[in-house]
């Protein structure tokens, strides 16, 4: 097996953010912490006063918390799923991207999993889920699936991190004991490489079905009920597609932010963005196809209660949000990403942000209008989130950013050894692989 030795003295740019701390870091952290503290205060108030501090009511008993739960867990698919697919398909351009994708997953998954607890009327009884759980309930499917995904994606983030941790340990500038502990005795011997490569290969295969299962069962929370607008067979794949879609968008935002903050222009080149942008474009079209299928079948069937919800979304009170979603998720990305001239970094950033907004709106449009239109007539109510819900949303976003910033303070945000491996072996391997695709020429064929 061909091996290379990662070099801790190369790629200084990638180590610099870990070893040098500027005023900007402290400023960012303190702003984020302030936002999180405010959210914490608001949550404490909610625990004391009950859920009446939110905008939820009868019959709209789920609001921002569940919307954000679905949204955040959706983003988590960025991560590991994309990184695993890119690794599986041996896409050489993956190398500077995978780490960030995996970090998104681990952080956002933890934040997303917190949201159902924020939503509970009795958070003090959350242990009941373990003591008296009932696997018949889709909520328990979520608990099992999300915790499995969290375990698997954390392992999947950690394993490729080991050689990089060892590199930081060798540099010896910071917390040597921490990196010694975390590198698990990594010395880069051929046997160790063999073990690690095999483990990463297993994990990248394992993590794909788990990731798919996560968003499928989240969609089942809704699809398993009889409510109009929820009771749909395509919700599983529809949610998975939406999740990967929003995940890629979140990954782009993170990539662009770190690229400018850490001056990673040499590592995250335009070509990386353009390759991934094609995936975003494909997901946009796939998402539109699913949305079309979902709404057309509802409309054509014309079941009165289904129609009530559907018209409420596309032509009623939710119409502005619905069509904004369509513009954000379809028009903007398709226009900006399908033309080579517009597929620039600003163009990609704009379409990623609109996709994030659009996908968040999509979750909102799935959760709330169905509840605002129950099957039995209920005096019309409109859900308007309260300050508590908004501050907890911003708090969750800040927590996500903080998690990312802190991670980048301890570990390289671009996988150093994978980049170096690409430099050392990638070209050769790619040539070999391409050669293996090519038809054998007559002579060698005859010879064989």
């Amino acid at each position: 097996m061909r091996r290379f030795e990662p070099d801790s003295t190369r790629d200084e740019t990638l180590f610099r953010p870990i070893e040098q701390t500027g005023a900007r870091f402290y400023l960012t952290v303190s702003v984020l912490v302030a936002i999180i503290l405010f959210a914490l205060v608001m949550y404490t108030r909610q625990v004391v006063l009950g859920l009446r501090v939110t905008g939820m009511m009868q019959p709209v008993t789920w609001g921002f918390y569940i919307v954000n739960f679905v949204f955040f867990i959706g983003i988590s698919h960025a991560g590991t799923l994309i990184s695993a697919i890119l690794r599986l398909t041996q896409a050489e351009w993956r190398r500077p991207i995978t780490r960030m994708a995996e970090v998104i997953t681990a952080i956002v998954l933890a934040i997303g999993a917190l949201h159902p607890i924020l939503d509970l009327g009795r958070p003090d009884r959350v242990m009941n889920v373990f003591l008296f759980g009932r696997l018949q309930s889709p909520l328990l499917w979520d608990v099992t699936s999300i915790s499995a995904y969290f375990a698997a994606s954390t392992v999947y983030l950690f394993l490729p991190l080991i050689p990089d941790i060892a590199l930081i340990r060798e540099r010896g500038k910071k917390h040597r004991w921490l990196y010694t502990f975390m590198s698990w005795g990594w010395q880069g011997t051929p046997e160790q490489w063999k073990v690690l490569t095999r483990a990463i290969n297993i994990m990248m295969i394992v993590v794909v079905p788990i990731a798919v299962s996560v968003h499928t069962v989240i969609s089942y929370i809704f699809a398993m009920t009889l409510q109009s607008g929820w009771h749909s067979t395509i919700f599983g794949p529809y949610f998975v597609v939406g999740a990967i879609f929003s995940g890629i968008a979140a990954l782009f935002v993170a990539m662009i932010a770190f690229r400018s903050a850490f001056r990673l222009q040499a590592y995250l080149k335009l070509v990386h963005f353009q390759q991934l942008a094609k995936l975003l474009l494909a997901m946009s079209i796939l998402w539109t196809y699913f949305t079309f299928g979902e709404y057309l079948t509802g409309y054509y069937g014309g079941e009165p209660e289904e129609m009530k919800t559907l018209l409420y979304k596309v032509a009623g009170r939710y119409a502005p949000l619905f069509w904004t979603m369509v513009v954000c998720n379809f028009v903007v990305p398709v226009v900006l990403l399908s033309s080579r001239r517009l597929r620039t970094i600003p163009g990609i950033l704009v379409s990623s942000i609109t996709v994030l907004i659009g996908m968040w709106l999509e979750r909102l449009i799935i959760v709330v209008p169905s509840l605002e239109n129950p099957r039995m007539p209920f005096p019309g109510r409109i859900y308007i989130p309260s300050l508590t819900e908004i501050s907890l949303f911003t708090g969750a976003l800040a927590l996500f950013a903080l998690g990312f910033v802190l991670f980048s303070k301890f570990f390289p945000i671009v996988s150093v050894w994978e980049v170096q491996e690409g430099r050392a072996l990638g070209k050769e391997e790619t040539v070999e692989r391409v050669e293996s695709y090519l038809p054998d020429d007559e002579v060698s064929h005859a010879g064989a």
């Binding site: 006063l49 009950g50 859920l51 009446r52 939820m56 009511m57 009868q58 019959p59 709209v60 008993t61 789920w62 159902p116 939503d119 509970l120 009327g121 009795r122 958070p123 009884r125 959350v126 009941n128 889920v129 008296f132 759980g133 009932r134 018949q136 309930s137 889709p138 909520l139 328990l140 608990v143 929370i221 398993m224 009920t225 009889l226 409510q227 509840l371 129950p374 099957r375 039995m376 007539p377 209920f378 005096p379 109510r381």
Partner: protein
């Protein structure tokens, strides 16, 4: 085991709201402030459903008491993550407040929108404290509650029958709403007992059940108005 059920005659119902009041008092259903009520936090185990059907000038107003349907195949119990709502031995759907974690999944799953959530702690004016029913608990904030068909009355009825050494009679057990209905629009009884008035009415050609097409098999029947347009 008796199959308790209710038949509500919409021809007799005047929409007076006696059942709503009786239910609130009987079951210590939280009274919220007017401001909270405006925000949609009113709590009812039984509410009057007012529905205008048809288009002007052919409008028909339909008023129907809406309460837990005690489905034979309840969508709410399936989704409960912690066994807090379940179908008991009498086939009545129970809600166990000390177990409920307040996720409100059952409320989202109930197609009849009959479950209520305690958005805040119950606050009882001093004057009302003495009117609380000691047989029914006061629910804390953060749990879901719903109509129980006045289950405590079934227990009291059973106890009475046992003390007198006789089987339970229908007259021993009537929910508060049925008891209070001045128009005699509500009939309660064992749907499996061919002789009981409730069972006979439930087999009437006028009998329908709400959202029957969902297959939830409600135990609450509505007798449609005789002059109701189809």
């Amino acid at each position: 085991m008796a199959r308790w059920g209710m038949v509500i005659d919409l021809d007799r119902c005047t929409g007076c709201g006696a059942c709503v009041a009786a239910c609130k008092v009987e079951n210590n259903v939280q009274v919220v402030s007017p401001a909270e009520g405006e925000r949609g936090r009113r709590m009812h185990w039984l509410r009057l459903l007012v529905e205008a059907r048809g288009e002007y000038p052919h409008v028909e107003v339909r008023i129907a008491p809406n309460l837990c349907m005690m489905c034979e195949n309840p969508p709410c119990t399936k989704v409960c993550p912690v066994h807090a709502t379940y179908r008991g031995e009498d086939g009545l759907v129970g809600q166990i407040y000390p177990r409920c974690i307040g996720c409100r999944y059952c409320m989202a799953a109930c197609p009849y929108s009959v479950k209520a959530f305690n958005w805040g702690s119950p606050e009882w004016p001093e004057a009302l404290l003495s009117t609380l029913n000691p047989d029914v608990s006061m629910r804390p904030k953060g749990v879901v509650e719903k109509c129980t068909f006045c289950y405590h009355r079934l227990q009291l009825g059973r106890e009475k029958a046992r003390a007198e050494g006789r089987p339970l009679r229908e007259s021993d057990y009537q929910p508060a709403c049925v008891h209070s209905c001045p128009a005699d629009a509500m009939t309660f009884g064992d749907l499996d007992d061919a002789l009981s008035p409730a069972a006979q009415l439930s087999r009437s050609t006028r009998a329908t059940r709400a959202l029957e097409h969902l297959g939830t098999e409600p135990r609450v029947f509505y007798l449609e108005k005789r002059d109701a347009p189809l």
